[in-house]
Symmetry: C2
Subunit: 322 residues, 2 copies
Amino acid sequence: MFAILLCILLPSARAQSDPLPSWNNTPPKQVLLDFVHRVTQQGSPDFVPVDQRIATFDNDGTLWVEQPMYVQLAFVVYRVHQLAPNHPGWKTKQPFKGVLDGDMKAVEATGEKGLVQLMAATHAGMTVDQFQKIVTDFLANAQHPRFKRPYPQCVYQPMLELLAYLRANGFKTYIVSGGGIEFMRPWTEQVYGVPPEQVVGSSIKTKFEIVNGQPVLMRLPEINFIDDGDGKPVGINQYIGRRPIAAFGNSDGDLQMLQWTTAGPGPRLALIVHHTDAVREYAYDRQSHFGRLDKALDEAAVKGWVVVDMKNDWKTIFPPQH
Amino acid sequence: MFAILLCILLPSARAQSDPLPSWNNTPPKQVLLDFVHRVTQQGSPDFVPVDQRIATFDNDGTLWVEQPMYVQLAFVVYRVHQLAPNHPGWKTKQPFKGVLDGDMKAVEATGEKGLVQLMAATHAGMTVDQFQKIVTDFLANAQHPRFKRPYPQCVYQPMLELLAYLRANGFKTYIVSGGGIEFMRPWTEQVYGVPPEQVVGSSIKTKFEIVNGQPVLMRLPEINFIDDGDGKPVGINQYIGRRPIAAFGNSDGDLQMLQWTTAGPGPRLALIVHHTDAVREYAYDRQSHFGRLDKALDEAAVKGWVVVDMKNDWKTIFPPQH
């Protein structure tokens, strides 16, 4: 009898607990709670069937740290150091010399050509299975220079709660990032609860080959798709084939995703994480090299999109270290 | 009390009912039932966790009819006729003249250049939302020339049962087709129970634009990705990011998908639908223009893949007409 009572009482007890404990009781939290309530209430004019509850999240700067540089760029640096013993010529040849010397100005001076060379040396020429192991090794061994913790722990606790809260309400949560799709897939399920098939990102081309009787997918030094800016709605349509009803970003690279999401009929939510907290994380926007937020901040004001003031709206930034 | 008893008894009663009633009791059915049993039995050495139960299905010739021509080609013909009044020049200009005259030899003579012109005229130059409506209109109004029923009813009843059976056992079912991804997505959920985000296919490029203040995705007359042959494992990796444990096809265009699927560790299933039934459907393989099955049939024999003999293994071909 007690068990039956517990079963009856538990759901309402759970409903009363706070699903977003790391969010302060400021307007963004209320907007999020209201939106989820409206789209999930059967009979509400804003009710959205479960299969259409699609939410897309940018990754760099929205779910995890993107300063002092994109984590994937830190991976390139890590990987060049790791491979350097097999490439003695790199000591005197840009852009590799710049990376090895920590001279990022010299790397930048090599322009797009240099970037493609770095990408080819660190991201291509292996099978997709091998690349997955390389990424996993990097994330297990590297750490953030300031926070001194592995990158998968430099994720935003309030956003982890938001992801879980949306999923608990029937949403399918997707990552739609300018970052490499195969750089994210090995760890997003464990860290964000987002499985590989719900990760959309930039990619290089791969080629199917039979090597020693075994089929493999080789990674080629050639861009396939850039999932940034205009590319985000294109990627959403290509991979998901439905328009999200909610989208979350933090930079101008997310502007078109937010425009595309909010232009559909029915209830819509667009949210921008504004990095305003130099003490606990970083403060940057219109002038930043990584994650510049300029046009999207103006458009958010005009269109009434939610802008999270990290300093005031978030109680905590990172999950407890483990 | 009766209700409680019913609840207790129902699951076992359901388990004893046949999940594949349109399959004869020949070897393919037993292999399917055995495979699903093995991968879903907790504690079995072949147990596969739910998140890894990925099954991929070719579409043309595996889930629906591909004779006397691919349905998407029938769509091109339909669309050219529909658009012809606005293009008086087509009456005298190939490849359009050939399509309008029903002279497919003349169309073929225009080669790849002609095909690209037809694709551009029928598949590009509109938004993705507009194209979705055009496809939906075609499927509602066109019918198969021999079976005299709409194309979405020219699907294979045994495969519908297999899709549902796999999903009931925790599988995520995907379509991986050489057909156009946006030609399939408007109807696969209703017909196969496969939502748009689980459809992988060939695509043309799209471009994000703001038109009259509204963001749209315009379809461009430019190939983005061909999801056939070598392209199928590439597409699987790109869209799903995991290797399937079961794959279903019917032609040489599926060979690499079956190779890629069966090359992974643990239990694997590869199945080929062999069209052997000229009376109830069609009989074709090594010499066929559409859906040629030659190399994959040889490899199936060597590797022990399941080959469905449609005539002998399927009790019924199509669902009841409605």
